[in-house]
C-alpha cells in the first residue's frame, strides 16, 4: 500500500518526519482534513489545533498553531508557525498560562495586550485540550487495566 512522506517543520526545527505514514489528520482553516496517500495536490492554511499522524496502527499527536500545509500524492509538508509533540506539552505550564491569560483579559482593556493575551489563551487551550484527549484516549485503548 502507498505510504506518505510527512514533514512537520517550524522556523526553529523539524518537529516530525517520517516516510511511511498511512494517514494525516490536520486542522485545516476551513475544517479538519484527513489525508490518505494519493490525495489530490492541495495547499491550505492551518488553524490552531491537533495534528494526528497514523502509522501502522500507531498514532502520533502534535499541536500546531497556524501555518500551511502542502499535499501532493506522496508527500505532506506542514509548515507550522509553531508546533510541538504531545509528549512535549507541559500541562501544568499550559494551565498556568491559561490562568494568567484569563486574568489579563478580565483585568484590562488595552487593545494590544488584550490581543496578545487572547492569543496566548487560545494557545493554552489548544495545548490543554490536546493533552487531555491524549490521556483519556490512551486509557480507553487499554480496556481492563
Amino acid at each position: 500500500m502507498a505510504k506518505l512522506t510527512v514533514e512537520v517543520v517550524t522556523g526553529e526545527r523539524i518537529v516530525f518526519t517520517d516516510d511511511e505514514v498511512d494517514m494525516v489528520i490536520a486542522p485545516g482553516a476551513s475544517g479538519t482534513l484527513g489525508i490518505l496517500p494519493n490525495h489530490a495536490p492541495l495547499i491550505t492554511t492551518l488553524a490552531g489545533g491537533e495534528l494526528r499522524v497514523k502509522k501502522s496502527g500507531q498514532e502520533y499527536a502534535m499541536v500546531v498553531f497556524g501555518g500551511f500545509m502542502e499535499v501532493t500524492p506522496d508527500k505532506v509538508i506542514i509548515l507550522a508557525d509553531a508546533a510541538e509533540r504531545v509528549e512535549e506539552i507541559d500541562a501544568s505550564r499550559a494551565e498556568d498560562a491559561r490562568k494568567r491569560a484569563e486574568d489579563e483579559i478580565s483585568k484590562r482593556g488595552a487593545t494590544e495586550d488584550l490581543a496578545a493575551a487572547q492569543a496566548s489563551l487560545r494557545r493554552a487551550n489548544i495545548r490543554l485540550r490536546t493533552a487531555e484527549r491524549r490521556r483519556s484516549g490512551r486509557r480507553s485503548e487499554l480496556p481492563g487495566t
Binding site: 517550524t10 485545516g28 489530490a40 495536490p41 495547499i43
Partner: protein, 290 residues
Amino acid sequence: MPSTREIRRRIRSVRNISQITRAMEMVAASKMRRAQQRVTASRPYAERIEAMISDLAALQLDAEQLAAFPLLAKREIKNIEVLLVTPDKGLTGPLNSNILRRAGKFILEEAEAPVKVVAVGRKGSEFMVRTRQDVVAEFTGLADSLTPEDVTAITSVVIGDYVSGKADAVYLIYSKFNSTLSQTPVVQQLLPIEPKAGSGEYNDYIFEPTGADVLTELLPRLVEVEIYQAILENFASEYSARMVAMRNASDNARDLVSDLTLSYNKARQTQITNEVSEIAAGANAMRQQG
C-alpha cells in the same frame, strides 16, 4: 637590551591577556555550537516556504492577479531600503569590517536610488550613523535565542515601508555562515518577492480557502522567515568569527610568551655572567694587591 624586570612584566601582561582571550574563545565556542545548530535547523523551513510560493505563483495566478499582491508588485525604484544585519559587538576578526565594507559598496556603488538603512545590530547602526547615512530604524540587543516571533517588529517596519511606498525595493545584507572558518557577506533582495520558477510537477492544486488567501498569508511569512534566517546566520557567523579570532590571539600570546621567556633567560644569563666576571676581576685585583 631591556632589563629582566621589564621582560618579566611583559610576560605577565601577555599571560593575562591570553587568559582573557582563551576564556572568550571558550564562551564563543559554546555559543557557536548552539548558533550553528539553530541556523541549520531553520534552513528547511525557509526552503520549503520558498518552494511553496514558487509553486503557487507560477501556476495559479496570471500577471494581473499577481499584481494585486503588494509584496509581489514591482515598481519603478526611487527609494531603496537596506536591512543591515550585523553583530552588536566587536572582536570578531575581519567579520565586521567585511560586512560593513560590503554594505558601503552597495550603498555607494550598486544602489540605483537613495538608500535608507534599517540597522539590526549595534555595529551596523554605529557605522551608518558615523558615515552619515539615513538610518530610519535600529534594532539592537537581540538575544541569540530569538524565536521567529521576535522578528515581527522588524518585519512590520520593512513591510510597512514597502507597502506605503517609502521604499520601492528592500535588500537584506548579512553575513552568511558557511563554516566555522568561512563567512561571506551577502546582499539579497527581500522585496518585492520574486518567486523562483516552480517545480511544475503538479499544476492542479486545490486551495483552501482560496489561492489568494493562502498567498496573502504566505508572503509576509516568507519575509519574516528570511529576516529570521539572516539574523541566525549572523549570530552563527559572529560566534564562529570570534572564536577563531580569539583562538588566534591565544596562540599568538603563547608564541609571544615563549619568545619573551627566551629573551628573559638570555638577559638573566648575561647579567649573571657579568656579575661573575666582575667578582672574578675584583678577586684578581685583590690578589695582585696582596
